[in-house]
């Protein structure tokens, strides 16, 4: 952690379309309203574009509390109703341990180790290079 407070993310989180998949990269500390906005944006984008998968990269997220946990679970549930699969990728060990201790195992959620593995899970090859993904050390 740097000394200065990192800027909280407010407003819209960018949603990228990669073929048949929507890719969302969450970073830093998420505002409650931003998370809710994302949930709404995703529902609209899925129904508008008819994509088959949603990939949420949370490797840059330092904590997931019950609120964000609920948002992720609801995104997956609403995507399912719109015939799209959701994969949450790159959860950090400390975050996973904390969520389990908190009592949230999010059983309805598909998970993957990395965005590449997530893409594979969604039945699509990962794009060749995608800069900015924090967990892309040499395999």
């Amino acid at each position: 952690m740097s000394e200065a407070y990192s800027r909280p993310v407010t407003g819209h989180v960018p949603v990228l379309r990669l073929g048949d998949v929507l890719l969302v990269t969450l970073q830093g500390d998420l505002h409650d309203s931003t998370a809710q906005q994302l949930q709404q944006d995703l529902a609209e984008t899925i129904s508008r574009t008819g994509v088959r998968g949603v990939l949420i990269d949370i490797s840059g997220v330092e904590i997931v509390d019950s609120f964000l946990g609920r948002v992720l679970a609801e995104i997956a549930a609403q995507a399912r109703l719109l015939a799209a699969r959701t994969v949450v990728a790159g959860m950090r060990p400390a975050v996973a341990i904390t969520l389990v201790e908190l009592g949230l195992t999010l059983p309805g959620l598909s998970t993957a180790l990395s965005t590449e593995a997530g893409m594979e899970l969604l039945g699509q090859q990962a794009p060749v290079t995608r800069p900015g993904s924090p967990r892309q050390e040499s395999p």
Binding site: M1, E3, Y5, S6, P8, T10, D29, H31, D32, S33, E62, I63, V64, D65, S66, F67, G69, R70, A73, P93, A94, V95, I97, T98, E101, L102, G103, L104
Partner: protein, 146 residues
């Protein structure tokens, strides 16, 4: 050594923006007191749950962070205070799955599992105070002690 600077603070909890400040303060304070990554994450998550309770159920309030130490071990005590409606049935509020708001019903009971000490006082009509403490050193002690 560890000083109170950057650890002790009193932060308002009035909006969901304030929740972000609470989380960031708790993370920095815990890091400064030598908490491991997992303990940091647990405490920040607990603080996030409790601060949201203060905001959503207590109608806003504040968090006070205090540096505590015992037997050479550093800890962080967080007190969340509101002057909201209070909780009539504490046992029920502390049980898994109970929710009066829009969470997964894991707020209080979950936060309790993430910290070492948990203490709640509530008077219906007068408000609620939740006090939690987390210690930096847990059994796997640092090597240099040997």
């Amino acid at each position: 050594m560890h000083t109170a600077a950057g650890v002790e603070a009193c932060l308002p909890i009035r909006s969901d923006m304030d929740l972000v400040w609470v989380r960031q303060h708790v993370r920095q304070a815990a890091a400064r007191l030598g908490f491991g990554l997992v303990e940091q994450t647990k405490l920040v998550t607990a603080a996030s749950e409790l601060a949201r309770n203060t905001l959503v159920h207590g109608g806003g309030g504040q968090m006070e962070a205090v540096h505590v130490s015992s037997g050479g071990v550093h800890g962080l005590r967080l007190s969340f205070t509101d002057e909201g409606p209070g909780i009539a049935d504490l046992d029920q509020a502390l049980s898994d799955g109970y929710t009066s708001g829009n969470g997964l019903g894991m707020g209080l009971s979950g936060a309790r599992r993430l910290v070492h000490d948990f203490d709640i006082e509530s008077t219906p009509g007068a408000g609620t105070t939740v006090r939690v403490t987390c210690w930096a050193a847990q059994p796997p002690r640092p090597r240099e002690e040997v």
